[in-house]
Symmetry: C4
């Protein structure tokens, strides 16, 4: 599967977007969290416009609360977990597999804990993973940047929200381009 | 083709320079656009002096206008496009192929949208691509730096305007060295 | 051995932590030494909680003194050396091998001298090495960052203290999770 | 030859140090030139102490003058050139080969012109090259950092002056260690 993994092969039809642990309880101690939520919201709204499936994990929701409202997840898209890797959650793992998408666009927090452990499991299971670097973060900057390095060492690809979304669109003649231009972009 | 792709094999005879979307309509919202235009102008003037072919793409020119005057393109070197990748334009793709040059020196904007999608298509078509990092840019810095990472992950090589031009010249005894020294360099 | 070396395979059962030359005599001339000691202390306390073996090297202790008190090493965990690589010390080399752990979590100073020479020897001997980048340092920043690059070029993996420790824990249901949450983390 | 190229195999016996174009005429327009000369001087003095051969290139000396005095080269170690690559100079190329050393420790200016073209030629000729990043530089920072990336893409290894010198020494019991400690180090 990873042999065909290339940025240019990322398409509307083969993509699944995962938002990892963007919960209210992580809002105060993550660097640049407002920018991360803005970028994730743009990604989420673009995916909705293009009918690309999305999933949202919640780490220990009894303690850290639910996904932030701006991301507006549907109930059936959300799953909780207690392992740091979302593949350690039976329901999470089943949901990911049920979408039958080989390219996973990955956003969320914290880069060096739940993101990293989830991404490494996804890669080991044969998925191609695109890290949306402007929609990810950690408490400390060195944790975020080093986690990106770690995941790249294991085969993850790096990208940003706009790069992903314009790769899906490919042309100003894309059917939904006018609607897309109304979306608020990260500043 | 990519087996022979090495910085040191870049020569006057095997190079084609592409300037991507350096249009008036992108002037106000790209970081460091003045420096990017200066570096691109130095590259363009050096290529002219050495008779190296150049091409200039224009994204949706009805909306974003034409190539900036400083780059002084000839009519037959310019083509318009509506796909973000210039290889999606039939005339663009044909022009690139018609030059029969395997090494492509690539400059322009935005790094994470039109540049990235074009470069990935060029690499997939067997061309070797040199990214002129000081003549490229995006709206936000993270988009530019992450796009460079993405393209490197797919096999692009990185360089700067002077590194490219001095690689073409190779010696202070190059025939046009005196004329070359009169060109204004990026500051 | 290195074929199975992946961040996700790092486990309590296959890990050995090495603290290189964190001695009192190096306290004043290493950049960010207070943060490095804090991160190393968190790593050391986490390893103790999880019963993961630790070793502490001392470079030329007659001149540079002993390991800082905060790290609280047991006598049988400490060895001295005069070669910059700890694998050049017969007792150090024997201690490392005696633990029969293939994954080595490596912290300490200076990144570009004793850390680098030790890590390259460990890699050449078939160990997998995880560099704990926030618990490492050099006198000058360029020496630290370039040393990280050098060790990555030879196959070392990069990480940070929390990434390592949460990889060991894997879940909030880990037996010692409550005790772990009492530990002071690096700020 | 490059199969055995590893940082840890760098030894007094297999090393040749090349100082590229550290001439008086380049003193005013290179970023951090004072630090670069200091680091190069420490490297040069260490190499002399350890009897490691050194070579010094001069680019177009009629225009840019001779090697700076601090480096104190012997006449038979210096050669001039007009090509940017020192392997383009028949005498330079012959001198490099005559030393019969496979590991080349490389310092000098400018990173993106003469250094880069020389290093790529050396790599293509089967030498292993260690870039001494704190003893190298260019007029602009982006030119230096991108040139390092380019050379790494072609197989060059990165290091710093102290990392190289302590790798040569390997132990505080090295015969000349006391004399070495008298040398002035880069600040």
């Amino acid at each position: 599967m990873s042999c065909s993994a290339h940025h240019r092969n990322l398409k509307i039809e083969n993509s699944l977007v995962i938002f990892c642990d963007l919960q209210v309880g992580f809002q105060h101690n993550i660097q640049n969290i407002a920018d991360i939520i803005d970028a994730a919201t743009f990604l989420r709204n673009s995916a909705r416009l293009l009918s690309i499936p999305c999933l949202f994990s919640e780490q220990w929701p009894e303690r850290y609360g639910h996904v932030v409202e701006k991301l507006d997840p549907a109930d059936e898209q959300v799953f909780s977990k207690r392992t740091f890797s979302l593949m350690g959650s039976p329901r999470g793992s089943e949901l990911v597999r049920s979408k039958k998408r080989e390219y996973i666009v990955f956003a969320g927090v914290q880069s060096h804990i739940c993101v990293q452990q989830s991404v490494l499991d996804l890669l080991a299971n044969g998925f191609s993973v695109f890290l949306v670097t402007d929609a990810m973060g950690s408490r400390r900057r060195i944790e975020h940047t080093t986690a990106l390095e770690s995941m790249k060492q294991e085969g993850a690809m790096v990208s940003t929200t706009e790069a992903i979304v314009f790769q899906w669109l490919r042309s100003v003649d894309a059917p939904c381009f006018d609607a897309f231009q109304q979306l608020q972009r990260p500043t």
